[in-house]
Amino acid sequence: MSEYIIKNGHVFDPVQKIKGDKKDIAIKDGKIVEASEVSSSAKSINAKGKTIMAGAMEIHAHVAGPKVNAGRWFRPEDKIFDSHKKPGMTRIEGGKSIPTVFKTGYEYARMGYTFAMEAAMPPLYARHVHEEIHDTPIIDEAALPVFGNNWFILEYLKNREIENTAAYIAWILNQTKGYGVKIVNPGGTEAWAWGLNCLTINDPVPYFEITPAEIVTGLMEANEYLGLPHSVHIHQNDLGNPGNYKVTLDTLRLAEKVKPKNDFGRDQVMHSTHLQFHAYGGESFANIESKAKEVMDYVNSNEAITFDTGNVTLDETTTMTADGPFEHHLCSLNHLKWFNVDVELETAAGIVPYVYSPNVSVNAIQWAIGLELALYAKDPMRCFITTDHPNAGPFTRYPRVMSWLMCAKTRNERLNTFKNADKIIDRTTLAEIDREISLYELAAMTRAGPAKSLGLSKDFGGLKPGMNADIAIYNINPEKLPTKGEDYEKAFSNVAYLFKDGKICVKDGTVVDNGQKKTFWVDVKVNPNKQVRHDVVEKFLKYYSVNEGNYSVPDDYAPHQHIISLDATHA
């Protein structure tokens, strides 16, 4: 395999605490090595006046699977005028908020991303998720199966059976080639099958007589019982509603009850996703206001929590979530089309197109809240930038979100030119914040932080010798930082170079190699569990529309696997 040495660049790496110093980075056999270890024939790349970071890691996006594809079906207008092929080796890149798998891979790579987590995999349709993941070029991916409304889980946790819950999680991860435990609107999505919802953490789920608080706590305990690389990953109850910050704080406090236990260097027990949608004050959309400060005061004080922002990008997009009742609610607000599906014993999903307009006060307030969360975060290793793609905006807008975070002038220009700017400034605290996120902090928020939260910090998210050679080089000179947000945006949209596994995949914003992407999943060994085996057999006989033998994801659906094996057999 070829050797490279990247010379004269400014390195930003929170793993080694390097804050823009000039340092040569050497690559050999797909790994980063000491500069002395490469031979004299190593190809030299001059990165003078450029910024070098590890490949960025996406912790939460909806990029593969049945829900994303349903969005593609029912929004043909999302692909309009995208039918022509760009020159070069790439395929046609269609879609704006729900891009094709090819565009997904290319665009992440062009922005310097090398990993993306598909945030919600319905176990029953895991095969579809893996088919799309396999077809997404360049970037490594993994998927989180959803557990928060699964009948097995609800029944076990009703009786506080943590060991059975853990054994079932291990079985699902193995069957679906999943990565961790996702929870979406715990209990609420199951309640939706009864035409109801759970809007606080104490609302009982119909029939199952269990509360969201019990589901979340039980799944956290089971997650730590297994010692999974990632913590539970939660989309909380009452998403998107004014006044929901109290429910958010109640949910976050559940993390105080559980201690992290794993061999992956992960410190949190809960990852709270798209927090922007959960930080609203007020009683109605007429007086909605930001409670980002209150939420962040708590998050800053509890080191057992990581979160991602869910920044609104002010674009036309397609909302899609396993939070079925929320999508029905959203459709009643904007009167656009609505898609709804129930996934048997496991989960549900809804899809509604949505236009975030700078002229609509609620949307502008949402925009401000997303930025406030990141700007109030004291520890950038626990705060990650997302747009909950495509819910708050397409992931292709990350460079713009970064420009708002890194350039106060650009941010304030946007804030002050909203149609109802006075109202937005009054209902949020963004105007009072002058913090600008530094390149070093950004490297923590998009590289080292997500890697640690996902339990991948041994090999990913940094530039230490021995780590995987996933490297992004940007046209940003830290000695002469851009003064305009649009310069940041341009630089972050088009890497000068992207190395994936030590191979150049993007050069000057142009894809030159499809890389060798891998699918990450977690294989946990647990004690044999007769109860869970019995329940699986029974549920497949009684309820499922497929046989158990047709449920699992065969190896040929994920031909390039990176399996994280762990032993959770308890004596």
Binding site: E77, I80, F81, H84, K85, H335, L336, K337
Partner: protein, 266 residues
């Protein structure tokens, strides 16, 4: 105003997608530069010069440019799509998406147009001297934003599903139309001077539909309100006014419910 004349010299094997055939794309260019403007056939990139002989030159801006197209364009899509100013005269039939998303200027097609023409039109004037196909002045597949503004006139007949999701502007069909007129319409004005078939104004929320001839079968969601004398596109007559679609959600304005209106000439 300067004129560019295009004459078809080669018929496309499949269909030629010429969304670049607009005064906006031509502005400031000479004939040899216009010949190099990209066009697409299937998955292959080509140029306008490959299919047209080009004479004359464009004006400095779109508004100062007139384009005249001669020859058979019946296998060419997107002619005049997204044009914002200037003038285009097509002495032929055209294929789908002609004049889609126009925001200004004037487009005249001397022959017939295929389906999906004038989609999402926002402004300008689009005149079709022959017949139009289905989905005229409608929204793109899946979209909820149909015609927003401008004037579209068809001198012949139009097909079915015209003006779906129409939000504004004016469409005049001098001949007859088939089924599904103004479905989901939330604004704008449709005038049908001939007869309409069935399902006129299904899920009509707001806006006006005028029919001079007969409607084969009325939708059940319309209620007769009053008779009123009006002047519609130069014709003075008494019209029966119907409110509807009563099965649909209707907005309120100043405490009053706003209905869509269907006028049938008496």
């Amino acid at each position: 105003m300067k004129t560019v004349t295009l004459t078809v010299k080669k018929e496309p094997e499949l269909y030629l997608e010429c969304e670049t055939l607009t005064p906006d794309a031509f502005a400031g260019k000479k004939a040899d530069e216009i010949a190099k403007i990209p066009a697409y056939q299937g998955r292959e990139d080509t140029t306008l010069g490959e299919y047209f002989s080009i004479a004359g030159q464009a004006g400095a801006s779109a508004a100062e440019t007139q384009i005249i197209i001669n020859g058979d364009c019946s296998k060419m899509k997107y002619i005049g799509a997204k044009m914002s100013a200037g003038e285009m005269i097509v002495n032929s039939d055209t294929d789908m998406y002609t004049g889609g998303w126009m925001t200004g200027g004037k487009l005249v097609v001397k022959g017939n147009v295929h389906s999906f023409c004038g989609l999402g039109m926002e402004g300008g004037e689009f005149i079709i001297e022959g017949d139009a196909g289905n989905y005229l002045a409608a929204s793109y597949r899946g979209d909820w934003r149909g015609m927003q503004g401008g004037v579209l006139r068809v001198k012949g007949n139009a097909g079915s599903d015209i003006c779906t999701f129409m939000n504004g502007g004016e469409v005049i069909i001098e001949g007859n139309v088939d089924i599904h007129i103004g479905t989901h319409m939330e604004g704008g004005k449709i005038v049908v001077k001939g007869n309409a078939n069935r399902r006129v104004g299904g899920q009509l929320v707001k806006g006006e539909i005028y029919v001079f001839g007969n409607i084969n079968v009325m939708m059940p969601g319309f209620k007769h309100n009053r008779d009123v004398e009006l002047e519609v596109d130069g014709t003075k007559a008494v019209f029966a006014e119907y409110l509807g679609d009563l099965g649909e959600r209707h907005p309120k304005r100043k405490g009053e419910t706003v209905y869509g209106k269907l006028y049938l000439k008496k």
